[in-house]
């Protein structure tokens, strides 16, 4: 499998540079074509989401895109979602990072410990806000909980060490997924997942949103399609917020990164990826509800 174009080695702090690098003069020009494309895309996507036998809606994530567009031998058999150290580490790691970024914690261990304690406490107090993960954590024996905590600490520490947090002009948004629900079809919703969201500016000082996506698994040719779909969702969700400018996918295991500037071509790739994913037999409503994977 050849390297996807745009791959380059990431060293510490280079990831920050790749994410926050000022946009060139063409960013403003791209913006106009992106806005124009964003007007057409919802209708195009709705037309793609035609009802299938069995009915139900399509809630597409990067996981579905990866499964649909990747080599058949790499496809993972669909399995019902279950909480585990692997599926919980991102949520807990993000909570830990948020605590670090807002100064409530001084280290990833402290941040994740706070997150675990908060989750268990919420579940024990029977708070309505307690999530299924909170209740699962609360039911674990201490050693099981420690194993989950260790995985989350490692996840959070890798992200924490990879970025120069002082380089952000304002505290970044950490770990907020965006869902776009088609206004034309109740059958279709798309997710954009990003671990860190911030802003970078063009040469005129105009702000654009930038998005860091932590990528797991081996490097793959589908990564640009995955990022393109996320970029498209950001554009579709952004009429009243910052114009999306850049997606950066980063593999903590290898330090590699892929940068995708959000322009007309990226949106076209995103639409094409959704079309191919929907056309594949791998996405069924049942799969879509049950196999959303943790990020890394």
């Amino acid at each position: 499998m050849p390297d996807p174009p745009g791959c380059e080695m990431s060293k510490p702090r280079q990831l920050t540079r790749a994410l926050l690098e000022p946009f060139g003069a063409d960013a403003a020009e791209n913006r106009a074509s992106v806005v124009e494309a964003a007007r057409r895309i919802p209708r195009t996507l709705a037309d793609l989401a035609v009802p299938r036998p069995g009915g139900g809606s399509f809630r597409l994530t990067d996981h579905h895109v990866r499964e649909a567009l990747g080599p058949p031998d790499r496809a993972t058999p669909g399995a019902p979602f279950a909480w585990s150290a692997r599926t919980a580490r991102r949520a807990l790691g993000l909570a830990g990072l948020r605590a670090l970024a807002n100064g409530a914690a001084r280290s990833p261990i402290d941040g994740v410990t706070m997150a675990v304690d908060d989750a268990v406490g919420a579940a024990h107090r029977g708070e309505s806000a307690a999530s299924p993960m909170d209740r699962w954590l609360a039911g674990l024996p201490p050693a099981g909980r420690a194993a989950v905590q260790a995985g989350a600490v490692t996840w959070a520490t890798r992200v924490w060490c990879a970025l120069d947090w002082s380089a952000f002009e304002e505290p970044p948004t950490i770990g907020r997924d965006h869902w776009w629900d088609s206004p034309h079809s109740s059958l279709l919703a798309l997710r954009s997942r990003a671990e860190v969201r911030s802003i970078a500016r063009d040469q005129a000082g105009s702000p654009f949103s930038v998005h860091l996506v932590v990528v797991g698994g081996p490097r793959r040719t589908t990564i640009r399609s995955e990022l393109s779909v996320a970029a498209m969702v950001e554009v579709l969700c952004s009429p009243r917020s910052l114009p999306p400018g850049r997606m950066v996918g980063w593999w903590p295991d290898s330090g590699h990164l892929v940068t995708l500037e959000i322009d007309q071509r990226a949106l076209d790739d995103g639409v094409a990826a959704v079309a191919r994913t929907l056309a594949s037999t791998g996405v069924t409503p049942a799969d879509g509800e049950g196999t959303i994977r943790a990020a890394a």
Binding site: S84, R86, S107, A143, C161
Partner: protein, 318 residues
């Protein structure tokens, strides 16, 4: 399944040669070292000595040539390209952990740094050495995270049960006959006692993280060198070696465990551009440990070793 009793374990231990004085030598402490007594008159635990060795001279952390990583990678890429030419462009990717550096079946009993790699076979999906290694590594993560272990076997199984890749192993241990299970529990008590003595209690500011996986694709991802750090501490700084890596060996050969740590140091160099500053190897069966600096010659040696091994692949794995 035959479980090794703790006494036999001790007898089977390989004792490394005494360390050679001088730069880069592994500082080996056999058994329980006897550092200076604490204020209360009790001998300080070995973990204090390990921590002191890791910190020693840390104010003068070495700088590495920024071109080092690129040079090592280029060397490996050449070898990987030759391997891909032999295997064919369409061959599935090869994932190579440290065990590929030696063709010794004994090595499989102690998959240092490759805890995620299956070593079971169709005829014996859960070899005793592998099961014990996984249980001890789970306990090690717990020691680093919480600083305590209540019931070694029970805690280790609880940790395995929340890992979807290891839950079947936990069930396997649950189903062991009582005698085998007791022997395993007794063995774990020995290991964890040593680990509690050996493992420094790192302050949160050291950023300790367990089971840090590293995977370096070569030849466009057709060859992937991978491994898992049992424990990394420190924050990476460009051009400066600032990380310390701690590896665990549960009963395998010391020299192979050390080679595996050097392999992981190489992978970290390729991942972040600089190698770890210092390595520590903890032998959980014997309570022995060693600490050494990472030198460029270590990296060049291990790259040379990897290149030689890559040159032997292709025919063998066809």
């Amino acid at each position: 399944m035959v479980l090794v009793a703790p006494q036999q374990e001790q007898g089977a231990l390989w004792s490394p040669s005494p360390p050679t004085p001088g730069s880069g030598a592994f500082v080996v402490e056999a058994g329980r070292p006897a550092p200076a007594p604490s204020e209360a008159g009790r001998p300080a635990p070995a973990r204090d000595e390990v921590l002191a060795l890791l910190r020693d001279g840390s104010g003068q952390r070495p700088r590495f040539d920024p071109g080092l990583s690129g040079g090592l990678r280029a060397w490996l890429e050449d070898a990987a390209a030759d391997l891909v030419a032999r295997r064919g462009e369409d061959a599935p990717p090869l994932f190579l952990g440290p065990r590929f550096l030696w063709n010794d079946p004994v090595a499989a009993a102690d998959p240092v740094g490759t805890a995620v790699d299956p070593v079971g076979t169709a005829t014996d999906p859960y070899p005793t050495g592998w099961v014990r290694s996984c249980l001890i590594r789970a306990l090690f993560a717990q020691v680093v995270t919480t600083g305590q272990v209540d019931s070694p076997l029970g805690d280790a199984l609880d940790a395995l049960r929340v890992d979807p890749g290891r839950s079947a192993m936990a069930r396997h241990v649950d189903e062991l006959p009582g005698e085998a299970r007791s022997a395993l529990a007794a063995s774990l008590r020995i290991h964890i006692e040593n680990l509690m003595n050996l493992t420094p209690r790192f302050a949160a500011g050291w950023l300790p993280r367990t089971h840090d996986r590293v995977a370096i694709p070569l030849a466009g991802g057709r060859v992937v060198l991978n491994g898992v750090f049992d424990l990394l501490v420190g924050a990476p700084v460009p051009g400066r070696a600032t990380l310390c890596a701690l590896g665990l060996t549960t009963g395998g050969r010391w020299a192979q465990a050390r080679t595996a740590l050097h392999y992981l140091a190489l992978l970290e160099t390729l991942r972040s551009g600089t190698p770890p500053f210092r390595l520590a190897l903890l032998h959980s069966a014997a309570g022995r440990y060693g600490v050494e600096d990472v030198l460029e010659e270590h990296l060049r040696t291990i790259v040379s070793h990897v290149v030689v091994q890559l040159s032997t692949l292709g025919d063998r794995d066809a």
